[in-house]
């Protein structure tokens, strides 16, 4: 019983391979088309997730900069430091005196000439804070409290940037999902059409087989194998193309990040991802084949 099942499926699988070999050019082209369709959303996904990963590495710790009014004296700064330490969400306070800030700025070559020409220090005293809670609500609350302090001129938080990043990531994710859904449909249609053409060349065989006792399942089976096989191959093509793309982009990014002193690396696909891409390809191909054959069997109405 099991043996018969295996041999039935083995034969169907063999026939699928034969069909593929019978028209190699057509098989290669449709496999490539499907492979590219799978690769597109994959490539975008990988691009976006790498960008988000890179960006979030740049500022894992949100910093809060508090600038005092330019007129604020050293004494005001001392007062403010005490008040800052009293705020619940502040974990750490670092004072940046205006002189230090100026010296720092002068170190930047391009600014030196400009600043040397000034006889007064245009920079205010400043503090850099590390917040305890870094969620949006706590930070917003903290911003309000900071602005309410006397002598405080401005509060700059880089969580604005984190927020934008997050919004971008959500948007990118939706875009990828949408594109993925559209292209998944395309894969189903492309496979369906390939199978439809195959069916047309095998109409007689299908009709006769049905008349002498082949079930719909039997007729469908080799086509399903073909669809799944082609989809899996296309998934393999997509994986290979992605690897090539990542390798190529990796070279570029590496050159770029070295100049920024970062050791950021692009991520290759891992085994689980590769398996699921090939699996999804196979499933979509199978689905396209299933729909195509079912549609045909219904229209042919051979009882």
């Amino acid at each position: 019983m099991i043996g018969a099942w295996i041999s039935a499926h083995g034969q169907a699988c063999l026939r699928a391979f034969k069909r593929m070999g019978a028209s190699p050019a057509a098989s290669i082209i449709s496999t490539l088309v499907i492979g590219i369709a799978i690769m597109l959303p994959l490539g975008l996904y990988s691009l976006f997730s790498n960008v988000t990963a890179a960006a979030s590495r740049l500022n894992t710790e949100p910093n809060v900069n508090v600038y005092l009014q330019v007129a604020a004296k050293d004494d005001d700064a001392l007062q403010t430091e005490k008040r800052l330490k009293a705020i619940a969400n502040v974990a750490e306070v670092k004072f940046v005196p205006r002189e230090v800030a100026l010296a720092e700025m002068k170190r930047l070559a391009s600014m030196a000439d400009l600043l040397n020409g000034l006889d007064t220090n245009p920079l205010p005293h400043a503090f850099t804070l590390r917040p305890r809670a870094t969620d949006e609500a706590s930070l917003e609350q903290m911003q309000k409290e900071l602005l309410a302090l006397p002598k405080v001129d401005a509060v700059v938080m880089d969580f604005e940037w984190a927020k934008k990043l997050k919004r971008f990531a959500t948007f990118a994710e939706r875009l990828v999902m949408l594109l993925g859904a559209v292209l998944a449909l395309a894969v189903v249609f492309v496979t369906g059409n390939t199978i439809r053409l195959q069916i047309l060349t095998q109409k007689d065989e299908i009709e006769v087989s049905r008349l002498i006792g082949a079930t719909k399942r039997f007729v469908r089976r080799p086509f399903l194998y073909f669809g799944a096989l082609q989809g899996a191959l296309a998934g393999g093509v997509a994986v290979a193309a992605m690897a090539a793309l990542i390798w190529w982009a990796g070279q570029e990014v590496h050159a770029l990040t070295i100049s920024y002193g970062s050791d950021f690396q692009l991520q290759y696909l891992n085994a689980a991802q590769i398996a699921s891409i090939i699996g999804i390809g196979a499933f979509l191909g199978w689905l396209g084949a299933y729909l195509s054959v079912s549609l045909y069997l219904r229209s042919a109405r051979t009882v």
Binding site: Q11, D204, L211, G213, T215, V303
Partner: protein, 217 residues
């Protein structure tokens, strides 16, 4: 083995090809359906093979009501029938051997058995030396015999043949009918349709005559 009771077949265009047929064919019997062109012979055979469904009344094969069995059941039934079609329905992209092997691969016979059985069937119809030939290169009579080989290759208990002598001359038709007679003599139930009055007279089997969709008495 095969029972029609008050069976009506109305085609989708509204034409009634069978207008209430009642008949019964016993196990091991050989029955010839005769009648003019358009009398409903092919329709009757298609109903017996479950290729068309009855509009009213019932068709029983092996005590199974064909209206009640599902797709897979119908598959099982068909694999146990031998069918010879009026228009042969041979596959022209395969050779004789592969055509005859088709029912066996559908029934998932082991590969080793397939060769033996196919050659035995081709031998019975005298086509053993043409196993590599493509149907297009065979004469009408040879195509007919090839079709018969395909019908008997799975050793069915029932053979249903629609005008197996239709395209053949008198003497060749006699050879074919004798072939069916020999299957019948080893216990196969045979149901065939024919125009061939002369040969039938010689064959001495039961006849059912159809006239405009009814059994004539």
């Amino acid at each position: 083995m095969i029972t029609f009771s008050n069976t009506v077949k109305r085609y989708p265009n509204g034409f009634e090809a069978l207008k209430g047929v009642t008949l019964s064919i016993a196990k091991g019997e050989m029955v010839a359906i005769t009648g003019h062109s358009g009398a409903g012979k092919s329709t009757l055979l298609k109903l017996a093979a479950g290729i068309e469904a009855a509009s009213k009344g019932s068709v029983l094969v092996n005590n199974q009501n064909l209206a009640e069995i599902k797709e897979t059941g119908l598959g099982v039934l068909r694999r146990n029938l031998g069918l010879v079609f009026q228009d042969h329905k041979l596959l022209f992209d395969r050779n004789a051997f592969e055509n005859v092997a088709l029912p066996l691969s559908i029934a998932q016979f082991p590969r080793a058995d397939i060769g033996k059985r196919v050659r035995a069937a081709l031998d019975k119809v005298g086509l053993l030396d043409r196993e590599k030939a493509h149907p297009i290169t065979l004469s009408g009579g040879e195509q007919q015999r090839l079709c018969i080989a395909r019908a008997i290759v799975n050793r069915p208990a029932i053979l249903i043949a629609d005008e197996p002598t239709g395209h053949l001359d008198q003497s060749y038709g006699a050879t074919i009918l004798d072939l069916f007679k020999s299957f019948n003599q080893v216990g196969v139930t045979v149901l065939l349709s024919t125009h061939d009055e002369l040969n039938l007279a010689r064959l001495k089997c039961r006849r059912i005559h159809l006239e405009m969709g009814r059994v004539a008495t």
